[in-house]
Symmetry: C2
Subunit: 281 residues, 2 copies
């Protein structure tokens, strides 16, 4: 039953009729967002017909680059955890950047920055990983307040960079209360020059400028041994309001990662098309 | 006026009279905590008469090792951000471990782990930094729920390791609400085999098993350009209930870091002695 998502949901905000994010096409959202990376991401999704982000949680550069090259044609975004790799060097990121250009996807380091502004600015630009030099997007926890966003933005300088706030987490017993989610939304609204959206498990924002990224997606519902909970791609997009689904082990540990990625891509993108088909734009 | 802290504060919990953490000596707390690292830390503090933790947020291994050797005699704990160092290798941590033994302090990597259990387990044990191999303590955000603690503990295996939950942050506009603080406390109480205490700005727990670490401490009250707020060592211990004060730029950027560390150490340890002088144990 998709009637809940296909009927037009017009809400009234400040006396102006606003169409909910979920009912708007990515095409129409290109003109309403004011972040250049969001526009670029919408264009990639439309051109490649994919709203799939693969989480490449691998231990070596070779595995990362091989996944990026194999799955590149089917994804809009590659999510990394470079701090899991024992052999990481800046050569790895150079090759990664070339693969991202070749296959037209963006790079998304899931660092979950969560410190005061002065510290995250140095973590983002410095150290062994120099994340700001190669990752278009990074995740951050809003817990420290606006300083975390301002610190990251100060380190990004003139580069086309943005961050995604972790608004809700998919793990059992997460402390991301409604109050916390609202705090994240307020911070995002006050920092649209740097925040492109949210990592969330439900439609935490109807604001069409923000992109919703939903992790914890697998073809079958399940739970892992350390509290991670999963939903299907279709449920993520139609019920939880995901714009982009994030899939890790479901693809990277599949016997045929490419075929599996294609299955996820089709399921998630048709769910998106179904969602906006009944919308107003 | 220290009367608020020197009068005995006996609270009644489950019908049993419980003395508040702040009124108990470190000596008496050695026998009430059940974490071996907490006991070790209390013993170090008593032997060296210091409850000072220095935050060494430096860019090179040479700076880190030099600070550790210079300040080692005056600290109980060295807090690091190894992801800020461009030239980090495992040789650095080997030298760091030797300095920690020479001067009798513990190592505390302020990684602020904040991901699901499966990911933090790999971030803690793997990557370039192999934090679990050298850091006695690490910080974690409780935001992802119990999985973050269980993931870290699973990676620590039989090594004497523990984590400190970031319960409150010192930055302007932090989203660490009372509800969040209570969530951290509940998680800590359910995981005393791994959680040694809290990073906080106030006395978030009266439970004498937990050690309170308070950052944002400088000899003069101030605010930095990215939202970090400071209190004095005396206010941190007497008003905010800190067991251990964490001092970064106030010492590391002083013209004479050693002399400055000694000033902080004396102020913070005498504040602790004053705090417990009126206590009941």
């Amino acid at each position: 039953d998709t009637s809940i998502v296909t009927k037009a949901k017009i809400s009234c905000k400040n006396g102006i009729k606003v169409t909910d994010r979920k009912d708007q096409t990515f095409e129409s959202r290109i003109s309403t967002t004011n972040h250049p990376l969001s526009r670029r991401l919408f264009k990639i999704m439309l051109r490649k017909k994919t709203n799939l982000c693969v989480a490449a949680d691998v231990a070596t550069s070779q595995q990362l680059l091989s996944l990026a090259d194999q799955l590149g044609p089917h994804i809009c975004l590659l999510k990394t955890h470079v701090d899991l790799m024992s052999d990481f060097t800046l050569d790895t990121t150079q090759e990664l950047k070339e693969l991202a250009e070749k296959h037209n996807f963006l790079l998304f380091e899931d660092r979950k920055f969560g410190d005061i502004g002065n510290t995250v600015a140095k973590q983002y630009s410095g150290g062994a990983h120099k994340v700001v030099e190669w990752a278009h997007l990074v995740t951050a926890h809003a817990l420290p307040g606006p300083g975390v966003i301002e610190g990251l933005a100060s380190a990004a300088q003139d580069q086309e960079r943005g961050c995604v706030l972790v608004s809700q987490m998919s793990s059992v017993g997460a402390l991301t209360s409604n109050e916390y989610v609202n705090g994240c939304s307020r911070l995002a609204e006050n920092h649209t020059y740097f925040v492109v959206g949210f990592v969330s498990q439900s439609s935490v924002s109807g604001d069409s400028r923000f992109i919703l990224f939903t992790p914890g997606v697998q073809l079958e519902k399940s739970v892992d041994g350390l509290g991670q909970q999963y939903v299907t791609p279709r449920a993520a997009v139609l019920e939880r309001g995901a714009d982009i689904i994030i899939v890790g082990r479901g693809i990277t540990q599949a016997s045929d990662p490419v075929a599996t990625a294609i299955t996820y891509k089709h399921q998630a993108f048709s769910a998106y098309e179904e969602r906006v088909a009944g919308g107003t734009s």
